[in-house]
């Protein structure tokens, strides 16, 4: 309980400090920070379309952050979320374009399962390599990001049939049978690329929370992550749990990629680098402090910054890159949470000291008052 409260205050402090640093930089370069931040908020909440943009941005971040958290609970540092997302994205697009006539009620669930499944496979491989051979999952997942990136591009350029491609670098758009976009949502948000994905993301927060805290599987994953020796002693299989946790982690990332494909972009195109949702998801998870509700809050904050930042240059002239500085500073402060804890302790100590001195002064005052009373009595 207290640790959760602690991570909440760390997160809030970090956001505050990040914004202050952004303001200082704006001042140094001659911009008005108040106007800058007002423009940011305006661009994030100014219209229903902006709100739709924020929600679209949040959708994959929630999922990749959940994935990161599951892996972390099991004692893994999954840097491969990007690659796992990409696997889901490519797979889901390829699958749905291959069956253009499948009805939506079959297509959408099966495409989601295939996308998540490919992500799960991409996550399970480093999990198995670590469990079986002790290979560092950090290195393996970083390398797998490259493998999956170029494999994805290669499939697009060389394997996919011409019939489902728009150009050499882009697939056709998926049909209505596979699209996650919903007309009423699109209309409500004045044509933003929001989709039913946001509901899937919100639902997954509850599902993952339930699995990790309420089931024997979650109990085992937590136990293995906290102390593999004790888990083994208690009859849990460290290997099985490593693979399962990494598969869940990768599956969530794969689902994020699938939703990006079927909900946001509706196609796949040649990628110059690993999708940023993987790394941004790690930032969301860190800012969320390992709490599931925290992930939601952190996803809102980072998405508002990103979407708001896009509109900032137009209305206030502050360059978009400033938002990246703010976001980076926030993550820096979360990482430096030790520093913040130290400052909190200092402030608390100062408060206590002040309280003690005033109390002591009061006692002295009362004491001397008593003395004078006694003298009066004499």
């Amino acid at each position: 309980m207290t640790t959760q409260k602690n991570s909440l205050s760390i997160a809030l402090f970090s956001v505050l400090f990040g914004l202050i640093i952004g303001a200082v930089i704006m001042l140094v370069f001659g911009y008005n920070p108040i106007a800058g931040y007002m423009a940011l908020l305006g661009s994030a909440f100014g219209s229903m379309q902006d709100v739709g943009g924020v929600l679209t941005q949040m959708t994959p971040l929630i999922l990749t952050a959940l994935g990161f958290t599951v892996a972390q609970t099991a004692g893994f540092f999954n840097i491969g979320l990007s690659g796992q997302a990409l696997a889901g994205w490519v797979g889901a697009i390829w699958y749905s374009l291959s069956f253009p006539n499948m009805p939506a009620y079959l297509m959408i669930p099966s495409a989601l399962i295939i996308g998540a499944g490919l992500g799960a496979l991409a996550g399970a491989i480093p999990g198995w390599l670590r469990a079986q051979f002790g290979a560092s999952e950090v290195i393996v997942t970083i390398m797998m990001n490259y493998i999956l990136l170029f494999l994805g591009n290669n499939i697009l350029q060389n394997t996919m049939s011409k019939g489902i491609k728009e150009s050499a670098e882009t697939t056709k758009q998926v049909g209505a049978n596979a699209s996650l976009q919903m007309k009423w949502l699109t209309d409500l948000t004045q044509g933003s690329s929001i989709s039913a994905g946001i509901f899937i993301s919100l639902m997954m927060i509850v599902v993952v929370w339930f699995i990790m805290t309420k089931t024997t599987l979650g109990f085992e994953i937590r136990a293995v992550g906290l102390n593999p020796d004790a888990a083994k002693y208690a009859g849990m299989s460290a290997k099985r749990n490593a693979v399962v946790a990494m598969a869940i982690s990768g599956g969530l990332a794969g689902l994020a990629g699938t939703i990006e494909g079927l909900g946001n972009y509706l196609n796949f195109f040649t990628q110059n680098g690993s999708p940023s949702i993987g790394f941004d998801g790690m930032a969301v998870a860190l800012l969320g402090g390992g709490s599931y509700l925290g992930i939601l809050g952190a996803a809102v904050i980072l998405s508002v910054l990103k979407i708001g930042g896009l509109g900032m240059p137009m209305s206030s002239g502050v360059p978009f890159e400033l938002v990246d500085i703010v976001t980076a500073s926030i993550i820096f402060f979360v990482g430096a949470s030790y520093l913040i804890k130290l400052m909190q302790a200092r402030i608390k100590a100062m408060d206590e000291k002040a309280a003690q001195t005033t109390k002591a002064k009061k006692q002295v005052a009362i004491g001397s008052a008593n003395d004078s009373n006694q003298k009066d009595g004499e």
Partner: protein, 519 residues
């Protein structure tokens, strides 16, 4: 005792954590050149008191006087400056550094931009000669023995000019020879005018080393008196607050059928060397078999091999006549094996999980603790409440993390979990390591109750007293092999001691006869 100004005077120290008073009006006076033992059960408040003296904790109220002057110790560096040094139970040394580098760390002597290791080494050499602390200043920590590492810790405090040295359970990691050497070091230090506070619950060591003892019970200082002429029984009774029985009474064993049969097994250690070789042993229902031996003679590997934590290279392990060799730990536990592991923090519990979760660690996947893969927290809590009551596990509730509990209560929790499952075989490795006499007595009673209920019990211990007290039969292990199996009532410490060095039973008996004849 001279009535000079005490070096340390702690007056009416109270330390509260919420409503719980860890220290409840403790008084402590230590004179110069005195070896002052602090005796108390696990969780009595000794560590809290020392953490206050070394600046890690602030007292809720009370005063500390050093050499008669009132001081506030609000940080560890302040405590350093006041000449207080602490030798922790777990050493705080960097393995890859040399002795000198470790000692300098934090108060380096520099020559321009480089470290002046030479001057430091000379100072260390001089200190080690003065106090009889032989250690090579240029040796790497990873290359020296545990006893020598402890000397490095002592030198570290002396190097920083400590006049008051606090030792937290210093003998827990030492061999009997190293303990004797340490006691000599204590006397050397005291002779040179240093004051020593010795935190321990080993009564023999207090009698061998200390001048004065202060007994702490439930956060209160009970009594301070000179050690000379006090018996271990008196010390134990004062510490626990009631009469303690060192020897647990038990009837003769009524052995039944063989529960565990170990047949010529070989088990390798982490480095791939055979640590247990050609080891055979039968454990029957209704008896306690003790495995005696010096630490590191294959006991750990033996237990891990039987319980499925390590692979058995050859031979067989049979439970109820069924071959369980190299089955998974869960398959083995489910055959009816309770395992109290040697290292409770590493294997026995999840220190970051709650007490309630820890008590469910072996059965969480079964009904009623979970249904269709979903945990039933209410059922887990019910079980925890029941076990906590039955086994007298004391903590601030079942939702605290296991790591926040005292060692004795952690061990009681592990034992509660392992004995509750109604197993036919109980394997207890070092069941009372680091525990005080009260807890030891309790755990021994529990293990004997298991035996009386017709269970087979296998106990591994490095403490001969414990082996002799508990066992019906004793198997002595040396270099991974059984040297001899003797009946507990036909043997004694001397004989076991000789067997433990690898001497055969006939040779040991002959040697003992000779010494008796000679005297």
């Amino acid at each position: 005792m001279t009535e000079s100004t005490p070096v340390i005077e702690m007056q009416h120290i109270i330390k509260k954590f919420g409503d719980f008073a860890a220290n409840d009006d403790i008084n402590l006076q230590v004179q110069q050149g005195e070896i002052h033992a602090l005796l108390g059960e696990n969780g009595a408040g000794k560590s809290t008191l020392m953490n206050i003296l070394t600046g890690l904790l602030q007292p809720t109220s009370g005063e500390i006087l050093i050499n008669g002057k009132k001081v506030t110790v609000d940080s560890p560096s302040k405590s350093d400056a006041l000449g207080i040094g602490m030798v922790h139970q777990h050493f705080m040394l960097i393995d890859a550094f040399t002795v000198t580098e470790n000692i300098m760390l934090g108060s380096e002597i520099t020559k321009g931009l480089t470290l002046d290791t030479k001057t430091a080494a000379q100072k260390i050499k001089q200190l080690s000669e003065q106090y009889g602390l032989q250690v090579d200043p240029y040796a790497k920590i990873s290359d020296i023995s545990v006893g020598q590492q402890q000397r490095v810790e002592i030198l570290k405090t002396l190097y920083r000019g400590a006049d008051i040295l606090i030792f937290d359970e210093p003998t827990a990691v030492l061999t009997p020879q190293e303990i004797d050497e340490l006691i000599t070091i204590f006397h050397n230090l005291a002779k040179e005018g240093k004051s020593i506070i010795l935190i321990t619950h080993k009564l023999d060591e207090i009698r061998a080393a200390a001048d004065t003892v202060t007994v702490i019970r439930a956060g209160k200082s009970i009594e301070t008196f000179p050690v000379a002429g006090v018996s271990s029984q008196e010390l134990a009774d004062l510490m626990v607050g009631r009469e303690v029985h060192f020897k647990t009474v038990k009837d003769t064993a009524e052995v039944g059928k063989t529960i565990l049969k170990i047949d010529k097994i070989e088990v390798q250690n982490a480095r791939g060397v055979a640590a247990v070789k050609d080891f055979s042993l039968d454990v029957q229902a209704g008896e306690i078999i003790g495995i005696a031996g010096i630490d590191g003679n294959g006991q750990t590997e033996l237990i891990q091999g039987i319980t499925g934590l390590t692979k058995v290279q050859s031979g067989a392990v049979l439970l109820h006549g069924k071959d369980m060799t190299n089955k998974t730990p869960r398959q083995i536990t489910e055959t009816g094996v309770g395992h109290i592991p040697e290292d409770r923090l590493r294997f026995g519990m999840e220190v970051d999980m709650t007490l309630s979760e820890n008590l469910a660690l072996q059965t969480y996947y079964k009904t009623p603790l979970s249904k269709a893969g979903v945990l039933q927290p209410a059922e887990m809590d019910n079980l925890a409440q029941k076990l906590v009551k039955e086994f007298d596990v004391r903590s601030a509730g079942i939702q605290v993390t296991a790591g926040s509990m005292s060692g004795g209560n952690q061990q009681k929790a592990v034992i509660a979990r392992e004995l509750n499952r109604d197993n036919d075989l109980i394997i207890a490795a070092q069941p009372t390591r680091g525990l005080d006499v009260g807890a030891v007595e309790y755990i021994h009673q529990r293990l004997i109750a298991q035996r009386n209920a017709g269970k087979a019990v296998l106990v591994v211990s490095f403490e001969l007293d414990e082996i002799l007290n508990l066992s019906d039969r004793i198997a002595v292990i040396n270099a991974g092999q059984i040297v001899g199996i003797v009946n507990a009532k036909d043997t004694n410490k001397q004989e076991l001691g000789l067997l433990m060095t690898g001497m055969s039973l006939t040779d040991a008996r002959a040697a003992l006869k000779e010494t008796v004849n000679a005297s």
